[in-house]
Amino acid sequence: MRTLDWIVLVSSLISIILYGLYRSRGSSTVERYLLAGRTMPWYAMGLSIMATQASAITFISTTGQSYTDGMRFVQAYFGLPIAMVVVCATVVPAFRHARVYTAYEYLERRFDSKTRALASLIFLAQRGISAGLTIYAPAIVLSVLLGWPERLTTTLMGATVIAYTVLGGIKAVTWSDVQQMGVILLGLIVALVTAFVLMPHSVSIGDAVYLAGAAGRLNAVTTNFDWNDRFNLWSGLIGSTFLFLSYFGCDQSQVQRYLTGKSVSESRLGLLFNAVAKIPMQFFVLFIGAMVFVFYLFSGPPLVFQRAELARIQTSPDYPALEESYQRAVERRRQAALDLARAHRESAANAALVTEYRAAEREVDAARAKAAALVERMGGEKGFSDTNYIFLSFVIRYLPAGLVGLVIAVVFAATMSASSGEINSLATVTVVDLYRRHIRPNASDHHHLLAARWATLFWGVYAVAFAGWGKRLGSLIVAVNVVGSLFYGSLLGCFVIAFALKKVRGTATFIGMIAGEAAIFWTFFHGGISYLWFNVIGCAVVVGTALLVTAIWPEGTKQGAQGRAVS
């Protein structure tokens, strides 16, 4: 990075942090620290929810996903508007009127303390791991940029996030997110424009889009049904609906956002804003990845985007031949792309050119697959993937001075925001659902505020410790969703029962949740189906088991009047 980049990066981060801290002043009680005193307007909540989802992983991994696999990942968000409608109609008013701090607090009022405790522990396990992955993402940036070890950069990023979160609370997180969304949009536009500008003059925007489509990178909607296919229309509409129902109905990191709203209407509007804006934004990010792919058609991408691994395989005796064959394939693809673009411009017959272009593309992919295998043979990670390095390599190598710093600042700021939100919610559940509920129920508000700050520190350290796990999981964006899906299904089942099945009570739900988790993990290890279905399976098993237990043992958990459960 050049001096101007550093100036832009440092000043952007400092201004975002200071602005967030300025807006968070007065967070001197537990309610203000954890729920911003329930004073947030809808636009702040909506942008904050979007910014949390659009973390650094969105930039780093989604673009790489599009580069290698096309845009079909956008289908994973088709269930979001459906889920938002359901959440707004049912969950939001219930939580708001119950005036709870956490989603799991509601479960005790509906069921019993053990169900609340189990749901809290499931959330802590899942979100703790996800928080680690969120911190890991920008560590890639620094390791690519500066050659620092990822563990060191993870620790540095984690320390910054921890300090920021401990001081600011949810209000700082939310207002920082609002500012960051503007920076994120600016960064996205800059990256896309740069990709277009740097393409050969003979290639127009229309040609670029055509070339991306011919290479299968614009496959936004795929209608074929396949249980093993991660992203298609059906898994998107059904599976991701359950995923987002879980995420926004049962995950404290999101629930806490809309609990900060001034009213039920404000909370609903914030969520519906997300429902409307998220898919176009995700499409835009994926489209950038597709255009980066087209850019690299003409500028010669490296065999491996991760420089450290490239250096590793360069010592192998197999490398020279592999590099030579790769360069041949890249040149063949470049020529085929130019020919195809020309034919497209001239509206000439191009079936043979498309065939040649796709054959060259397959040759390039095959060479990259051999390189990945070579990385593994040379002692690299098992299942090596450089998906997360593609976009950053493009940014660092080709964006002009100043803009590199801006994009890196966006990546950093988004990560800090997403991580701080996650750590804040982890601390909230720890203090409200476990510490205040079971350990020190009679302590003062100030004591619990201090406990929340200490819990924030603890979860920050925990997240950093887990960050090293991320590099074993391939694409980060998928890894986050896979981890979430391992736990969300049973949580969702629990809340479905809470809201829909009046006769089912705590013990039956508790047993159902354990059965649901067992079913999900069995499916994960033995089922071999897309992770989006884990939520459906987990939810169904929880509900089915709870109904079965209730039918077999109806006296075990008598229902009290007015829907209150007997513990």
Binding site: V74, F78, P81, I82, V85, C88, A89, T90, P93, A94, H97, A98, R99, V100, Y101, E105, Y106, R109, R110, D112, S113, K114, V209, A212, G213, A214, L218, N219, A220, V221, T222, T223, L233, S263, S265, R268, L269, L272, A275, P280, F283, R437, H438, P441, N442, A498, F499, A500, K502, T507, E555, K558, G560, A561, Q562, G563, R564, A565, V566, S567
Partner: protein
């Protein structure tokens, strides 16, 4: 099989006791700590509830009211700032989704 009776306790929750005054038979792996009666609540109980006199149906505007699973539909609701009702807003969002999927499908077909 034991029979149960319900007893309203100070923090607004029901507890279970065996009819004969003995303990409730539960498997050891389902036993959990009893609810702490001194648990600080987000909302203080209103006097009728705090005194242990539970009305037939809880008033939904009562601060200590916990909605049941069927309650959200009946809770008082603020109107949305546009389209008149939340039902219409939700319908508009779902129509938007259908239109978006249609546009993306056409986009995919156009550049396949």
């Amino acid at each position: 099989m034991q029979t149960f009776r319900q007893k309203f306790v100070r923090n607004g929750r029901y507890d279970v006791q065996a009819q004969d005054g003995g303990t409730v038979a539960r498997p050891w792996w389902l036993r959990v700590p009893p609810i702490n009666l001194d648990l600080p609540r987000t909302q203080r109980l209103c006097p009728p509830h705090a005194s242990g006199v539970l009305p037939e149906s809880l008033d939904t505007v009562c601060p200590c009211y916990t909605p049941s699973m069927a309650a959200p539909r009946t809770l008082p609701d603020d109107p949305p700032p546009f389209l008149g009702s939340w039902r219409r807003v939700y319908g508009a969002v779902l129509l938007y989704l259908a239109a978006l999927i249609g546009v993306l499908y056409l986009f995919t077909q156009a550049y396949r």
